[in-house]
């Protein structure tokens, strides 16, 4: 399996994706300071929720989840939907490797890349932000170690959510053999689950339930995709 994953990276031009990650990280740094600065713009009491670390961190996690889910589904569109189209199948089906193994290696390759990118990107953004907060804070809240811990657990949860969302979108796209549908599904799923994510911030039980749910959805989607691929024919 390791060899198959390595081959997936060799076959794919990763440069545009790496570039996207770098640009996204720079934008996130801008966002997190913007979120923190909002309550100071004018003293509107309705904006006071922005004066808390949990809101600032939560918003950044949402932005990052959205960005990386879309990036992952773009990679799935290229690496899975395009290679499992009726013509390109000739290529992978001539290899002495089970079809489901090829699919699985592609899913792991994409998720490894995007999850690692997410981790690195969030770490850079939060480390920088917390560092300047500990020196001269923008946020009114008191800065304690639990703020850092919350950011970390939210990052981990959003990695699981990103995996579940993008693989589900990939499976939907695979059944219809459609790249646009893959991307649209990602956006629709994101839009309809955002609320849940904001709830998660305040409640560790919901956080755990969401995590388990993500893993279940990820597994079911992967199995459905593998089942679909097994019956595909070369055109």
């Amino acid at each position: 399996m390791l060899k198959l994953i390595r081959l997936e990276y060799r076959k794919t031009n990763l440069r545009p994706y790496t570039l996207s990650v770098i640009i996204a990280t720079i934008l996130f740094i801008g966002f997190i300071y913007l979120f923190a600065y909002i309550p100071r713009i004018d003293e509107d009491p309705e904006l006071l929720m922005f004066a808390e670390y949990s809101t600032v961190s939560g918003l950044l996690i949402l932005v990052s989840l959205t960005t990386y889910s879309v990036l992952a589904s773009a990679m799935f569109a290229k690496m899975v939907i395009d290679t499992f189209d009726a013509n390109s199948l000739t290529l992978i089906y001539s290899y002495p490797v089970r079809r489901s193994a090829i699919l699985l290696s592609k899913i792991i390759a994409v998720l490894l890349f995007t999850a690692a990118a997410m981790m690195i990107s969030n770490t850079v953004v939060f480390t920088l932000f917390f560092l300047t907060e500990s020196i001269s804070p923008l946020v009114n809240d008191t800065f304690v170690s639990s703020v850092v811990l919350d950011a970390l657990s939210l990052t981990l949860l959003s990695m699981a959510a990103m995996s579940a969302i993008s693989v589900t979108a990939m499976t939907i796209g695979l059944y219809r053999q459609s790249v646009p549908l893959t991307i649209i599904s990602t956006v629709v799923i994101l839009a309809s689950t955002n609320n849940v994510f904001m709830e998660v911030l305040s409640n560790p039980v919901i956080l755990l339930v969401t995590l388990v749910l993500c893993i279940v959805v990820l597994s079911v989607s992967t199995l459905l995709a593998a089942k679909h691929v097994r019956d595909l024919e070369v055109a």
Binding site: K3, L7, R10, K11, N13, N87, S88, L89, T90, L91, Y93, S94, Y95, P96, V97, R98, R99, E233, V234
Partner: protein
């Protein structure tokens, strides 16, 4: 017997593209599969190379039933089917190298294979920049580089200039002679394969009309075998 099919049929929805094909390809032969456009050649070759499964019947390879997910036989087969697909942003060299990683078996060196098909100087060029004929040559190189026992070539002379056609014919004979490969080559042009084939099968409207050795044909049709081909497929072909 290298390849044998037992009552192989292929249906798309309820349309029968291939009807109970019983084909026999001897070990070490070059088998020419002839038939007009739409006869079902590509459909049949995809099953012979283990890419698609028959709807009915069985394909036998070295006497064993061939299954599409069988990891053991895939390295023993090389194929070029219809318009070949590559990793276009990668070089010819990289394409062959990745192919060999997947095949994981004894093989010619990439330089040897590229030289044999006349692409020695184009090895570092991205395949996206290749001409039609160059892609065809590279596809053939990819099909034989892992030294398969069976080489399945669907209209391999497509896009080649006269010099390329001549070289390719010589290559087919070399692969059979030097590397003991069995070749199945399809074409809708009789002239393309009558000079290389040992045996010819004629496919027409999804039916294998006949299988006959070139030797027999040459005796029965001393003036050329066009008349034979025409007689077989005459009418509405």
């Amino acid at each position: 017997m290298k390849v044998k099919t037992a009552d192989v049929s292929k249906l798309y929805d309820s349309y029968e593209v291939l009807k109970r094909i019983n084909m026999n390809v001897d070990d070490g032969n070059i088998y020419g599969l002839l038939g007009p456009n739409g006869a079902g050649k590509s459909t049949l070759l995809k099953m012979l190379s283990g890419l698609n499964a028959p709807s009915l019947g069985e394909v036998y390879f070295n006497g064993n039933a061939l299954h599409i997910d069988d990891g053991h036989v895939k390295p023993l087969i090389g194929s070029v089917i219809e318009t070949p697909v590559f990793y276009n942003h990668l070089s010819a060299y990289e394409n062959l190298s990745i192919h060999l990683e997947y095949m994981n078996t004894d093989h010619l060196t990439i330089e040897e294979a590229l030289t044999i098909v006349g692409l020695k100087t184009a090895g570092d060029l991205p395949v996206a920049k290749f001409s039609l004929g160059m892609r065809q040559r590279l596809a053939v190189a990819r099909a034989f580089i892992h030294l398969p026992e069976l080489l399945v070539l669907d209209e391999p002379l497509n896009g080649l200039d006269p010099k390329g056609v001549k070289e390719m014919r010589a290559l087919f004979k070399k692969l059979r002679g030097q590397f003991d490969m069995t070749l199945i080559i399809s074409s809708h042009i009789l002239n393309e394969i009558e000079h290389v084939a040992d045996e010819i099968g004629i496919l027409h409207k999804g039916e294998l009309l006949t299988e006959v050795s070139m030797q027999t044909l040459k005796i029965n049709y001393p003036d050329g075998i066009e008349t034979f081909f025409f007689n077989m497929t005459e009418g509405d072909g």
